[in-house]
């Protein structure tokens, strides 16, 4: 099975406190630790496991600046066979539909049976997978937490729905799926693994090569534009307990007793 996994390089929220810069035009980008989007890492692991079971290959692709190469390489160290960086000034300012249009052009250059995205990325949109599927006219399932290959033309997928329940579907290939965390346990990538792929050439694809005009991606095509970043006025936020740890614990225990929190 030929599998393409879309990945994105994002600031790692478990490693960083995200802050707004002084004029609210961006987040503070200095000293940010970046990594591959959490959901995408599960998608790559799943692709590798499917390939190891039924054969084929795994390609990872990202749309981003040249730093994007770093996550492509990381996921190749994990076990992806090929990596592609799609990078062009012309793509700056793309909205979700623009990114999807770029990915669609890349998909059409290959011969993929299965295309995976993460369920969502750093902007919490959860849009690229569904848009890409619609543009390609291929079936889509979101929030997938189980994949079983039935035969060359069909797979069975579980979707995570409310309350921990799972919705089972059969879906024809080729298709697009967005992957939910917890579908597998992504393998650890050590320094040695990274070193092994350090010298591999990663092809860079541009707007011209993909035939993407300014009407399809980039600022002028974008119908949504982010105006600013801000931290909402702290409304009725929590009362923060102050003092020494001992004092804080005293207050907390008092509150817990009053509210029935200690039996």
């Amino acid at each position: 099975m030929e599998i393409l996994v879309c990945i994105k390089r994002v600031p790692d929220t478990s490693e960083n406190e995200i802050e707004v810069n002084r004029d609210g035009t961006d987040i503070e980008r200095d000293d940010l630790v970046y990594s591959v989007n959490e959901w995408d890492n599960y998608a790559v692991e799943e692709a590798i496991q499917i390939r190891d079971k039924v054969g084929g290959s795994v390609t990872v692709v990202t749309v981003g600046d040249e730093e994007g190469e770093e996550v492509v390489r990381r996921e190749m160290a994990m076990g992806a066979d090929h990596g592609i960086l799609i990078s062009d000034e012309a793509f700056t300012g793309s909205d979700g539909k623009g990114i999807s249009a770029v990915l669609k052009a890349e998909v059409e250059k290959g011969n993929y049976d299965l295309i995976l995205t993460g369920a969502q990325a750093d902007d919490g949109a959860g849009q690229v997978g569904g848009m890409l599927a619609a543009m390609l006219d291929r079936p889509y399932a979101s929030l997938v937490n189980l994949i079983e290959v039935v035969d060359e033309k069909t797979i069975k997928v579980g979707r995570e729905i409310a309350g921990g329940n799972q919705e089972m579907n059969e879906i024809d290939l080729p298709c697009v799926l967005s992957i939910q965390t917890g579908i597998n346990e992504p393998r650890y990538v050590g320094i040695r693994g990274i070193r092994k792929v350090a010298s591999l050439e990663i092809p860079v694809h541009t707007a011209t090569e993909l035939g993407i005009g300014a009407d399809a991606a980039g600022t002028s095509a974008a119908r949504s534009k982010r105006l600013d970043y801000f931290v909402p006025e702290p409304g009725e936020g929590a009362e923060i307990l102050e003092g020494s740890t001992d004092e804080i614990i005293d207050k907390l225990i008092e509150l817990l007793k009053a509210k029935g929190g200690i039996k």
Binding site: S14, G130, A134, G158, E160, I249, G260, I262
Partner: protein, 328 residues
């Protein structure tokens, strides 16, 4: 003619979801004079019950009735919606698992703009809609300006608009089934099979009065011991956020949130949990929430009643010791 805004209604067992009235509120912010049309898909008597129940709240209810929609599959519904929605429509859809399945592709097929997971709206000026979203799991917010001249699909975060119960209209139900399914039920390349029910665990956190809930801030599986010790001292049960379940450190039945359990404790102690809306969405009944987090800007402090800014690995054992001391 007043602008027509569409709201997609989720329902189960003949009852409309809470989000139905929230979408009315959102539509009201977009345009207070708009006529609001509910779209409800399903099958048979259950569908009719839903239409009757929500009927008075909407100017019109469009129903799409077919046995193939008894369990609504987004891949089947999407082409049906594309057939009935007028050009340049505005359609509001709840941002949960079904909306996430349906909406992005719908916006492409309608050639409309897409605004995902919106939790605030500031109205429309010159065909530009200003919306508020969150990024980085709620750590920062953004204003987004969206060109809606060719229509827009908006997914609205559940719970972010206060239900509008004020409307009371004559019920107007329009059967759109024939038009929506004019070419028959779209043959779907994705076929619904069944729903596999969640596994039941050894504790039922939905019944707990006091929950000690742990998130990724616990850092390591071995550290869970201090959480269980604290819970024992308090007489509480242990629940958790999603990453703890993803890592298989605790069973799924302990996960609080939209894709886990809905809990209604009296007291909820959140330890090393950032406060993503999918987590908070599982906490109901307005419990007293205490959050301990080392990041003073963590969104959980917006939801909590009381907060402690500290490292949980230090704080938890101290708290446990003191409770045990007091109890003797």
């Amino acid at each position: 003619m007043a602008q027509q805004i569409f709201a997609y209604i989720l329902h189960k067992d003949g009852t409309a979801d809470d989000t139905a009235l929230e979408l009315i509120a959102a539509a009201g912010v977009l345009n207070p004079d708009a006529s609001i049309t509910a779209i409800v898909a399903g099958s048979g008597a259950e569908l009719d019950t839903v239409c009757q129940n929500i009927g008075p709240r909407f100017d019109e209810v469009w129903k799409i009735d077919h046995e193939a929609l008894a369990y609504v599959n987004a891949e089947v519904l999407r082409p049906a919606l594309v057939r009935i929605l007028p050009k340049a429509s505005t359609i509001l859809i709840p941002h949960e698992h079904f909306g996430m399945d349906l909406a992005p592709g719908l916006s492409v097929k309608l050639d409309a703009a897409f605004l995902p997971d919106v939790f605030g709206l500031e109205g429309i000026e010159n065909e530009k809609l200003k919306a508020i979203r969150e990024e980085f799991l709620g750590q920062v917010s953004t204003h987004v300006l969206c060109d809606v001249s060719n229509g827009v699909v908006i997914t609205v975060r559940p719970g972010s608009f206060k239900a509008d119960e004020s409307r009371n209209r004559d019920i107007q139900i329009v059967d759109k089934s024939a038009e929506a399914l004019a070419d028959g039920v779209p043959g779907s390349a994705r076929r619904y099979l069944e729903v596999v029910a969640a596994e039941v665990g050894d504790v039922d956190i939905t019944k707990s009065d006091v929950l000690v809930s742990v998130g990724r801030g616990i850092e390591d599986q071995d550290n869970l011991e201090i959480v269980f010790d604290l819970a024992k001292a308090m007489g509480a049960d242990v629940s958790c956020s999603r990453p703890i379940v993803d890592a298989k450190w605790l069973e799924k039945s302990r996960q609080v949130g939209t894709s886990g359990q809905t809990v209604k404790p009296k007291v909820y102690l959140a330890l090393g949990i950032s406060g993503a809306f999918q987590h908070l969405g599982g906490i109901k009944g307005a419990p007293f929430i205490i959050a301990v987090n080392k990041n003073p800007k963590a969104p959980i402090f917006q939801a909590a009643d009381v907060g402690v800014v500290d490292d949980i690995l230090d704080f938890i054992p101290e708290l446990t010791d003191r409770i045990n001391e007091i109890k003797g």
